[in-house]
């Protein structure tokens, strides 16, 4: 029997390898260096991520799969790599600030963020269900540990256990679903699946069951209602920088997985959109309503952001339902905007701590504008962008999301989207009211925030306003991506 060794072109996965090397280096530094300086860890991670970022930029896009058809280096994967790498950098910076109060396990924290990033990048470039599944696991396992990394707080352990059990459970659904898809189409390669479905586009019960289970499994990962129950507890309990990465990186990666499987033209399930579209339609509808209704009632900042993140998953799923090119473009743009505003909001939650007291309640932000005006100003930008105020990237992104839904004639879905967006202004503006109008409850001063956190918040705020005023900066790149795939 002859075994053909596929061509191994390692340079095309160079960004992933650089991140891997950085993560291992950071982890090993804790073993070999007596007392690791926090600054050095963050600097190393930043440097590694920057090199990986520019390596990804310089890669040549090609629609031909590599590694025996396992992964594909198309322009979509290159763009997503850059989004994930930039996000990881921001999370490392806000984590640096968090570590000032929880200095233990800091190198591990950074290394785990980087490991999770590799998982996201693998999902972004997978052309086969095997790397897709491996990527999802690579992303999930470090995040389970990150959620429980703050051993001084009971809630952290609870969050980690809940996240793990539901995450593993959803993986079970995912794998069982993939098994059926494999059984019907006799392959795990997404392009070949797409061709075989396009050739005889009849949905056998096994196939429908397969992709329903796949959808449920991914629905857990991106916390679409009714699979969202874990999100509020996990977001609240996990250490805030870990929450930021769970809320952004993992959710975006989940949507990328959906995109790879369900919507890319010529690939995968696009041929059967009549069957899966109604499912995602209902999930998007329920998610928008439950996310926004849940956020209305929260007094805990991280819990409120958790429900808000669920709601934004619903908006993304709405554009995703349309299955059109504009839908995919809007989803990609909104992912980038969502990353900036959510990491920014959690960054403010970290920065707005008082001595020995984390910012937990929304009321803890009272009087922030008087003591830390720039922090309050940045938070206002994030909140307005999350709500969708004109002039911010959140507005432009939402406009395109709704536009995609309307263009696909999902009028009721778009209407619910607009109504829930109006509703969401209430709980986002409430945060601003607390910061600017309310007096602080006690006389404790807010801590000074570190340079790294300030840098992260500045990048997020400037990015949001910049993309809000000049959306073409990103839009043109995205159009290149979807035009090519």
């Amino acid at each position: 029997m002859q075994i053909q060794v596929p061509e191994i072109s390692l340079w095309q996965v160079l960004p992933e390898l650089i991140v891997l090397a950085t993560a291992v280096g950071v982890l090993a530094s804790d073993l070999f260096v007596k007392s690791v300086q926090r600054v050095n860890v963050t600097l190393t991670a930043t440097l590694g991520l920057l090199i990986a970022f520019f390596t990804a930029r310089s890669l040549e896009a090609s629609a031909t799969p590599i590694f025996a058809g396992m992964v594909v280096r198309d322009s979509l994967s290159i763009l997503l790599d850059q989004i994930f790498l930039a996000g990881a950098m921001l999370v490392t910076w806000i984590g640096h600030e968090y570590a000032r109060r929880n200095p233990r396990q800091f190198p591990e924290f950074t290394a785990l963020v980087l490991f999770a990033t590799i998982g996201m990048m693998v999902i972004a470039m997978s052309a086969d269900l095997i790397p897709l599944f491996v990527g999802i696991e690579l992303l999930s396992l470090p995040l389970f540990v990150l959620a429980g990394s703050d051993k001084d707080r009971l809630a952290s352990g609870e969050a980690s256990l809940k996240y793990f059990l539901l995450g593993a459970f959803s993986t079970g659904f995912l794998v069982y679903g993939i098994a059926f898809i494999f059984g019907v189409t006799r392959t795990t390669n997404l392009t070949v699946i797409g061709q075989s479905l396009a050739a005889h586009a009849e949905a056998t019960p096994l196939l429908v069951l397969g992709f329903a289970l796949l959808l449920v499994g991914l629905g857990f990962k991106i916390s679409l209602a009714p699979f969202h129950m874990w999100a509020p507890d996990v977001y609240q309990g996990a250490p805030t920088p870990a929450t930021a990465w769970i809320a952004t990186g993992s959710k975006i990666a989940g949507f990328v997985a959906l995109m790879r499987v369900f919507t890319l033209p010529d690939v995968s399930f696009a041929a059967l959109s009549d069957y899966w579209t109604p499912g995602i339609w209902w999930l998007a509808l329920i998610t928008m309503i439950i996310g926004n209704a849940g956020a209305l009632m929260q007094s805990d900042l991280k819990r409120m952001l958790a429900y808000s993140s669920i709601a934004h998953g619903g908006y993304l799923a709405m554009a995703f339902t349309s299955g059109t090119r504009i839908g995919a473009e809007a989803t990609l743009f909104y992912m980038a905007a969502y990353l900036l505003m959510t990491v920014g909001a959690f960054g403010v939650a970290i920065a707005a701590s008082r001595s020995g007291q984390e910012c937990e309640k929304i009321a803890d932000l009272s009087g922030l504008a008087r003591q830390r005006p720039w922090l309050a100003f940045a938070m206002s930008i994030f909140m307005l962008s999350l709500a969708g105020m004109p002039g911010t990237a959140g507005f432009v992104g939402k406009l395109w999301l709704f536009g995609a839904a309307v263009q696909a004639q999902y009028y009721s879905l778009a209407l619910i989207g607009v109504l829930t967006t109006l509703l969401s202004f209430y709980y986002y503006l409430r945060v601003i009211v607390y910061m600017y109008v309310h007096e602080p409850d006690d006389r404790l001063l807010f801590n000074r925030y570190s340079f790294s956190n300030g840098l992260a918040l500045t990048v997020c705020a400037v990015g949001l306003v910049g993309l809000g005023v000049f959306p073409n900066l990103l839009w043109s790149t995205i159009r290149l991506c979807t035009g090519a795939v």
């Binding site: 696991e137 396992l141 352990g157 609870e158 256990l161 993939i178 059926f180 006799r186 509020p232």
Partner: protein, 103 residues
Amino acid sequence: MTIGIEHYLVVSLVLFLLGLFIVVTHRNGVRILMGVELILNSANLNFVAFNRYMPDSALSGNVFAIFVIILAAAEAVVALAIVLAVYQQFSTIHMDEISNMKH
């Protein structure tokens, strides 16, 4: 009677449902983990069976099963580490008692 693919599918479905039943009804963290392992193994059985009964088998089912086994092992390691950490804090791994977050 010859054993065909449908027999394997039924066995794997039973395994899947047992796993699901355990996850839904039990509140002990380790038992839930065992239920999840059953679900993963039911999927493995499907992969291997489909691969065996396919005319032009490309072995990717078997390969996928190997990946699932490896990742399930990694998952079990993380799970037990988390369970140990939680047990140190709460002195229990009963899910209903591990709840101190205000809603």
